[in-house]
Amino acid sequence: MLDIRNLTKTYGDKKAVDNLSLHIYPGEIHGFIGHNGAGKTTTIKACCGILGFDGGQIFVDGISVAEKPLECKKKIAYIPDNPDLYEFMPAIKYLNFISDVFGVSKKEREESIARYADLFELTSDLAQPISAYSHGMKQKLAIIAALLHKPKLMLMDEPFVGLDPVAAHTVKGLMRDICDNGGAIFFSTHVLEVAEKLCDNISIIKNGRLIMTGKTAEVRGNSSLEDVFLELAEEKFEK
């Protein structure tokens, strides 16, 4: 579903992502972990087609992001680390706007909005301008908007930040549903317990380079994911 081949992205002299290759299959929840500034967000943004890259290729469902970005974007849903939405719009108008842009039929959008708004307990707030929403409510709204066009691939940057435990649980359930229906999810997180429990596969990035990838159980080995991560982080300081 997502095929990243030798991705390289530089900012000035600094290599934010260095020759990174990764493959995410349908039905897979793939966690992406790394220290701050490791290159997680850069990688995710490049996969979404919102950030150009200097080397390598990215394919979404076999389509090149660099060559056919629009085709790819139709299959993707991107949830950024900060839910920056159009605050001058009421939430319902925002969801309708996103549905229009993604060409979601009238019937489908009405059903989806009703279902997800209920699920995230946002129904009574749909008429409110987004500017009146709390961070968590905005995050829920961003997730609802991302689900409206039934994406094949979800790219999520720290999706659990700001969510209450109930909403976080709901999101985890939805993520599993999407993958059970043939979709794929690639998300970054610092919450290692969540990654350990939720992900089928995990990749660890350090200083822009992929240093470990594989099934969660393989990456973890006999210790916890936290121990593995801390061990790798220590190696960084030793170097």
């Binding site: 229009d100 707030d125 008429a127």
Partner: protein
């Protein structure tokens, strides 16, 4: 700490004005030259126009013994210019900055936050007031004289005046912020306030010439009524004209005391006002049938909604549309009278056509929402980039509201002029063609400038809409264009061709340049879009 806050706020203000000059990149020589040229042009134009306005008064008032009335007029004009110039941004800058939460969470006294913002406004006021005080002083020195003490008090009046205007605009901003905190649809309140101010300003502006000649002809009765009715104006005038120390001290107290009161009152209430938004009344959701439309229409509708729901955007980037409708009404009602009066004073063939085109063209210059439409995305730029839409369609959606909002009232005004004013067929063609071409050019130029000079890191929209580089280039560059076009015709082409022919040629050129800009934007759209970055 206070110094840091102030310098941060000022650097933000100036970085918005001058594009990416302060973003760590070394500006190119061309860029530096362009910015300096733009600044010189803006300042020069304002100084010249205000100087010309004060010249008749400087020639007549001191000669009939009313020198103080001249300085009183300078004070009044300085007040009007500064007040109108800053009232719309005061509430946003003082109470609605997006860095409120961040700053309030730090160990910074709220009085420091407010103080630094107030001082930024005072500095802005000094810039506005200088545009009046400097040319008025120069013109007065050319035609009349005052004592050394008078000049010293004139300079000191300039210094005490800015805090006074800031105090008044801050109180108004406070009232708006208080009302906004109690209602759900706060934009409506801001729009009503802004419209009232704009209508007031327009009423004064439309009658300015009559008022200024009234000052000269009725100086004696006016002087008496001000002297008795509103003494501060008299204190100001006599301090500068006669070097009256006591009156200057009275004026200084009149200006400084409100500023101190404003600072004390607002800083005591700053925390409450800045954090009061969340208590606004909740809007109840009632399920309605949703309306589906194409992606492009949805994006255009989003742009139009932003235009009409953001008062500062609507009034700054679209006020020309209201002026055009007012102009159409004026032409229909009084146009014929003015033409007969004008034909005696301007014996130029095609003068009616030229003036109509100049007026509509001037209004067109102020209709430039495209010049800030991209910057207004702010943090949402990544959201826009992630949508499955071609960049050229996104840019087209940014452009369409500009064309719709500009072209419809322009066409209306042209049609009314064609019906009610005496013009030949060719002149009528020019009256339709020139505004259409000018508005199209302004829209494309605005979009192009905003693509080249985007600012996403603003803390409130006012700065982008009012003072970003793209907006300034479009508005002021457009004015320069109108001036140059008029001069070229008057100096070189008036004997060679009719004004209508000239305007039709200019229209064709403007449309050709617009088409070229459209081509450049469409060709590089994806590249431009990929380069946009909030960080």
């Amino acid at each position: 700490m206070f110094k840091t806050l102030l310098s941060t706020r000022l650097s933000m203000l100036f970085s918005i004005m001058f594009g990416r000059l302060n973003r760590g990149k070394q500006p190119t020589k061309t860029r530096k030259v362009l910015i300096v040229a733009l600044a010189v042009y803006v300042v020069g134009m304002l100084l010249f126009s205000f100087g010309s306005m004060f010249a008749p008064m400087a020639q007549s008032l001191p000669q009939i013994g009313f020198a103080w009335l001249y300085f009183a007029m300078v004070g009044l004009m300085g007040f009007a210019f500064g007040f109108i110039g800053s009232i719309f941004m005061t509430e946003k800058l003082l109470f609605e900055s997006t860095d409120n939460d961040m700053l309030l969470a730090m160990p910074i006294p709220p009085s420091y936050i407010l103080g630094s913002r107030l001082l930024t406004l005072v500095i802005l006021e000094y810039i506005y007031s200088a545009m009046i005080f400097i040319p008025a002083g120069v013109v007065y020195a050319m035609y009349a004289s005052t004592s050394t003490a008078g000049w010293i008090f004139y300079a000191l009046t300039y210094l005490v005046f800015a805090p006074f205007i800031t105090a008044l605009t801050s109180f108004c901003g406070w009232v708006i912020a208080l009302i906004n905190s109690k209602v759900a649809r706060k934009n409506i309140v801001s729009t009503v306030f802004m419209l009232l101010f704009f209508l007031g300003f327009m009423a004064v502006y439309m009658n300015l010439n009559a008022y200024l000649s009234g000052v000269i002809t009725n100086s004696s009765s006016l002087a008496n009524s001000w002297q008795n009715g509103f003494p501060p104006i008299y204190w100001l005038g006599t301090a500068c004209a006669d070097g009256n120390v006591v009156n200057f001290l009275l004026l200084a107290a009149f200006c400084i005391i409100p500023f101190v009161i404003a600072y004390l009152l607002l800083s005591a209430n700053f925390f409450k006002i800045a954090t009061a938004r969340k208590s606004a009344a909740k809007i109840k959701y009632v399920k309605k049938e949703l309306k589906a439309q194409s992606a492009r229409k949805a994006l255009t509708a989003k742009e139009i909604k932003r235009f009409f729901t953001l008062p500062i955007y609507f009034l700054n980037a679209g006020f020309g549309a209201i002026m055009l409708i007012a102009a159409a009404v004026f032409i229909a009602v009084k146009g014929a009278d003015y033409v007969s009066m004008m034909s005696a004073e301007i014996p130029m063939e095609g003068a009616v056509c030229a003036i109509v085109c100049l007026v509509i063209g001037f209004c067109n210059l102020t209709i430039a929402p495209a010049a800030s439409a991209i910057s207004l995305e702010g943090k949402n730029i990544n959201l826009l980039k992630s949508l499955p839409m071609a960049a050229k369609d996104i840019f087209a959606a940014k452009l369409t509201p500009n064309l719709v909002i500009g072209l419809i009232p322009s066409f209306l005004c042209s049609a009314v002029a064609a019906i009610f004013l005496p013009m030949t067929g060719l002149e009528i063609a020019a009256v339709f063609a020139f505004p259409l071409a000018a508005q199209t050019f302004i829209a494309f130029l605005g979009l192009f400038c905003n693509i080249k000079l985007p600012r996403f890191d603003w803390t409130n929209e006012t700065l982008v809409v009012k003072q970003s580089g793209a907006v300034m280039i479009v508005t002021l560059g457009g004015m320069a264009m109108l001036g140059v076009l008029a001069l070229v015709y008057a100096l070189a082409l008036a004997q060679i061709m009719a004004v209508s022919v000239y305007l039709l040629i200019v229209s064709a050129v403007l449309l050709a340049v617009s088409a070229a800009l459209e081509g450049v934007i469409a060709k590089n759209a994806e590249k431009y879009m990929l380069e946009f970055s909030y960080n």
